[in-house]
């Protein structure tokens, strides 16, 4: 750890807002169903498709102890009058877009953090006379945004105002709903050092346990701990957390239009029933690889590393990856390699609940490729040509005008013939994916 940090005070020259749409999915549902507003409400996935977890809940459900991520039956045990409504993702996307349009009235430095959270850097948009008291000006804008979102969209936000992204995020979590919290460079020690260290962004359960082993229970404990000791225990991660706790985070808020580079493209499926044999696995891999290949082609990308994730019916999961001999966007090749990877690492001790395929080490499809003397390139070109033709047919005549025979063995499992789009939505473990 560089000792220069010990001598520098945190720099309060920026005004960063973190805006969090409160209980987002549940708030949108309650807005559209006024009769639900005085009831505990949870937005839940489809139990029959085994996606039956609580995705979001309103304040009343929260006060009954309902937690995001728990099974719906558990939530109903805690709170019998709980009303569970299905999700409407198109509506949530619409509301997210509307909120971002409001934020864009104040700055073009807007960095989304999920569908319902955004960081805004408003430093450059403050007029000269407001530069003298930036934090107060930031607080005034935060209140404007809060009022506008409530009046224009009918949902509420909590806003954190601070001089860096970490404390702005912390601030938006401190007071909810429909509230503004200011954490300034002058008062952050009094305000947040007494809070549990788990409140700090990026301190998850595992890091929390490690820190607890070092006697670090509050953010203040973390900030005042020897950075050398922290580095010896947590490596670079320890340096970073120490800087965060002391207010030294200088990470910029991305400007709109600065698109993040796609690092991987992947999909995963939780099947409606357990996968019991290799045929079942082959079917799901086929659906996954076709979706990943189609998305990669639409981005003009090829991948050099394939990762396979498997979760069994006791929720034990693992991930294995393999470096491919050549970059590819071919579904056929992905299927072959992912199945090889699966057979090599899975011993069938338990049935499988979900599978995921991800391609990484991406490059443009026109990037030069090292050819191999022993590969039949004519065969590969034929295969690619077939896949492109199939893709064109699907675009023109619908996603299921042509299907592989393997997916027809269990149409419910693979979604064959259903209205489901061939390109699956992004998996949660899809990093910076397109």
């Amino acid at each position: 750890m560089d000792e220069k940090w010990d001598r520098i005070s945190p720099c309060g020259d920026r005004v960063i807002l973190h805006v969090d749409l409160n209980n987002f999915y549940a708030s949108v549902e309650c807005l559209h169903h006024p009769q639900l507003r005085d009831k505990p409400v949870a937005v839940g996935g489809d139990s029959q498709a085994r996606h039956g977890i609580v995705l979001a809940k309103n304040e009343l459900a929260k006060s009954c102890g309902v937690k995001t991520g728990e099974a719906i039956w558990q939530a109903l045990e805690k709170c019998p009058p709980l009303v569970v409504v299905p999700p409407h993702f198109q509506q949530y996307l619409r509301f997210s877009r509307m909120a971002r349009n409001i934020y864009l009235d104040y700055t073009d430095q807007m960095e989304p953090f999920g569908i319902d959270e955004c960081w805004l850097d408003i430093t450059g948009t403050l007029s000269a006379e407001k530069q003298g008291n930036r934090i107060a000006a930031g607080e005034a804008i935060a209140h404007q945004i809060r009022r506008r979102v409530r009046e224009e969209m009918g949902v509420t936000v909590s806003v954190g105002v601070s001089f860096n992204k970490i404390f702005a995020k912390l601030g938006s979590d401190l007071k909810k709903p429909d509230a503004v919290t200011v954490i300034s460079a002058d008062n952050f020690r009094q305000q947040i050092w007494s809070l549990p260290v788990r409140e700090l962004l990026y301190v998850g359960p595992a890091t929390g346990r490690k820190l607890s082993g070092l006697g670090v229970n509050t953010i203040g404990d973390l900030a005042t701990l020897s950075p050398q000791l922290l580095h010896s225990q947590l490596g670079k991660w320890g340096d970073m957390l120490w800087r965060y706790a002391n207010g030294y985070d200088r990470s910029p808020v991305t400007r709109v239009g600065e698109e993040s580079v796609i690092k991987s493209v992947g999909n995963s499926i939780t099947a409606y029933r357990d996968l019991e044999n290799e045929e079942d696995v082959r079917m799901i891999l086929c659906v996954l690889c076709e979706s990943v290949a189609s998305r990669m082609r639409s981005h003009g990308l090829m991948g050099g590393t394939l990762s396979l994730s498997v979760r069994d019916n006791r929720l034990y999961s693992f991930e294995r990856q393999m470096v491919l001999q050549r970059n590819t966007w071919s579904a056929e090749e992905m299927m072959r390699y992912s199945f090889q990877l699966f057979c090599r690492h899975w011993k069938w001790e338990r049935p499988i609940r979900s599978l995921g395929v991800r391609m990484s080490e991406l490059c443009g499809s026109d990037a030069p490729d090292q050819i191999c003397l022993f590969t039949d390139y004519r065969q590969l070109q034929r295969q690619e040509s077939i896949e492109k033709t199939v893709e064109q047919l699907r675009r023109r005549f619908g996603p299921h005008c042509i299907d592989r025979a393997v997916v027809l063995q269990d149409r419910r499992l693979t979604g064959a013939g259903s209205e489901r789009n061939r390109q699956l939505s992004r998996s949660p473990w899809d990093r910076n994916a397109g």
């Binding site: 807005l31 006024p34 409530r150 224009e152």
Partner: protein, 79 residues
Amino acid sequence: MARKTYVEVTVCFGRDGTMTPMEIHWEDGRRFLVDRVLDVRQAASTKVGGCGIRYTCRILGRQTYLFFEEDRWFVESRE
């Protein structure tokens, strides 16, 4: 208790793309002329649920909210 009622609306599109509601066609076939549009803004309807562009209209001397939500019009009607 208010109710969300979708309605047909005759709209005048200005050269600059602005929309001005002219007449509301009620469910039972009656038509109501919009005397004047008093205000236009993005707003939520917390009474009946939904949000969009809210036109504050004067119709038969009474002030009424008319919402354009995505691609449909609705009013907050009484049950």
